[in-house]
């Protein structure tokens, strides 16, 4: 069974004259352990698709199935729960809280779970070590490099042990070399069993993924 399935999904923003059809009739099946890349020109609907895949937004038409269950009737808070337990995001601009330390940023998703602070600490330390950022815990995001910030964001994504990691141009704010390192890292995470979907402009990066969606004017080509 596919972990995420979209059936005839469409997304329309706005009303009347401002109406934009960002996605049209999308049908995708994403299996557990897949590594997908999403490519397409600017404004083609990549982020829109990713947000729908990640339960950040509900489709205007069609059906979204997570583990075979339709989310159509889920409340906002139930969607939050799905995000918190099954899905993690990595963003182009890292989306770290600048007032919080690296450590506090990493354990942020765990604040929604019933967990002792020593358990949180152990988990955070485990992933920080895995990502080679164990010495940065007390620093603020603004005090570390872009590559390090993205590793912090990935640590935060991994800490909930999600099934799916969605990344919207995760290398967009990084230089070539750091970007490639990051993709290697994502590949390793994928090999460890996580499903990964990456939005990117970069052909090289898209090649790391095993499956590809090309999107143009809201229409997906697989």
């Amino acid at each position: 069974m596919a972990i995420i399935e979209l059936r005839n999904v469409g997304k329309t923003y706005g009303k009347g004259e401002c109406e934009t059809e960002a996605l049209k009739n999308v049908n995708i099946k994403i299996d557990e352990g897949d590594f997908w890349s999403i490519m397409g020109p600017s404004g083609s609907g990549k982020s829109t698709l990713l947000n729908i895949l990640g339960c950040m937004d509900k489709p205007s038409e069609g059906e979204y199935l997570f583990n075979g269950k339709s989310i159509e009737k889920y409340s906002v808070d139930e969607l939050s729960y799905v995000r918190n337990t099954h899905i993690s995001f990595v963003f182009q601009h890292f989306a770290l809280l600048n007032d919080y330390s690296v450590f506090d940023n990493i354990i942020l998703p765990l604040n929604c779970k019933k967990m002792t602070s020593s358990d949180k600490k152990n988990k955070a330390e485990y992933y920080m070590k895995q990502l080679g950022i164990e010495s940065l815990g007390k620093k603020k995001p603004s005090q570390i490099s872009g590559g390090q910030q993205q590793r912090v964001a990935i640590a935060r994504a991994l800490i909930t042990e999600p099934d799916v990691i969605l990344a919207d141009e995760p290398t967009g704010a990084l230089d070539q070399k750091t970007g490639e390192e990051l993709m290697k890292l994502l590949k390793e995470i994928n090999i460890q069993g996580k499903t990964i979907i990456v939005v990117t402009h970069d052909e090289k990066i898209a090649n790391v993924a095993s499956k590809r969606i090309y999107i143009e004017d809201g229409i997906c080509h697989i």
């Binding site: 950040m56 906002v76 939050s80 729960y81 995000r83 989306a95 809280l97 007032d99 929604c112």
Partner: protein
Amino acid sequence: MIEVIKSLSKKKIFYILIMLQFIFSLVYFFVIAAAIQSAFYININVPRQLDISTEQLIHIEVDVFEEKSNFNNFVADIESQLNGKVGTYESNVINSVELGGDVGTVEIDSNIVLMKELEIEQGTYFDDCDFKYNIMISDEDNPVSILIGSELAKEYGVEIGDEVYDLDNSQSFIVKGILKPGSKWFADTVDEGSIADLGYEVIVPRSESDYIHVHYYCIMPEQVDIDDTIKQIKQLAEKNSVTMEAEFVSDELAVKFSDSLEENKNWMIFVVVMMIMISVGTASLFMAQMNSRKHEIGIKVAVGYSCKKIIKMLFGEVLVVATVAFSIAAILGKAMLGQVEQPSIWGQGTYVDGYYISADILIMGAVILMIMCVPAVVLLGVKTKRLQPRELIGGNE
């Protein structure tokens, strides 16, 4: 809770500003409310202290230089023609080794018992004979009966029948009764409304041979015509060539009350206007802050914070700030307006004048604070509900 405090600590300056705003307006409110309360207080407290209605009590202010005989005739006329009983009380001090030095006293006339009866814990109240002593011959063989405050009796181990000697006036007293704890008397004239605690005071009967006092009280039978009675008293004063002013205590209190209210009305309107302004200001500050926190909230929503949790966090922050502000304002207000009980102007007693922050005022302050927070809290709620995480991701910080 930890979450709330953590989040609060990230926005120090913002919350310090909001807190200052709250504290400032609350303290302001407390001060005005206490002033208004003291206006009400007299009207509540004086009738509560009296055994008769304020419409039965006439306050007579006499010129000190009156002829004693003229005044006595005037009083006799009131008693015979109007059926009123005239009496007075005044504050004094005795100096006695047995009571540990200077002690405040209240000297009371026999008629005063009709206005306010003192309750006795041990022993008995004065009888008629106790008022009929002559100050000149009250020596150790003829001591004057006194009543003594319960705390004073306890502190110096004074019992019924003990003798007390006043060094200043070489006068002997014998303890006839001990007052009930919590006994009160008027610290000043009745219409001033300052109520004194008698715990550390001594009650002395006023002797017949005493000089004329300034303030007298005429206790009237029930239901007299107020205007008519005053007119008659004026006529009797004229007849006996006594210069005085007479007024019903109920009228005195009414005038005081409306004066005080009039005095504070503008302030109160001012306070209300200010509270509204602060409330609007707070709401807009919160709104501005919400915009600057979109990023933070978006990230939290993206990692799985539920809407409920976010709203709880924001409300929690407001609540903590409001509670801290309230506590500081209450402490500041209490410090500014002094203690509930102030030391009495005479003796060792204390008195309450209503110019303090009562529980009622604190509750009102809390309600007002809540009202001030409501627009902010509603805005926070609405804004958070509308916030879409997709607005916040993939985009620029």
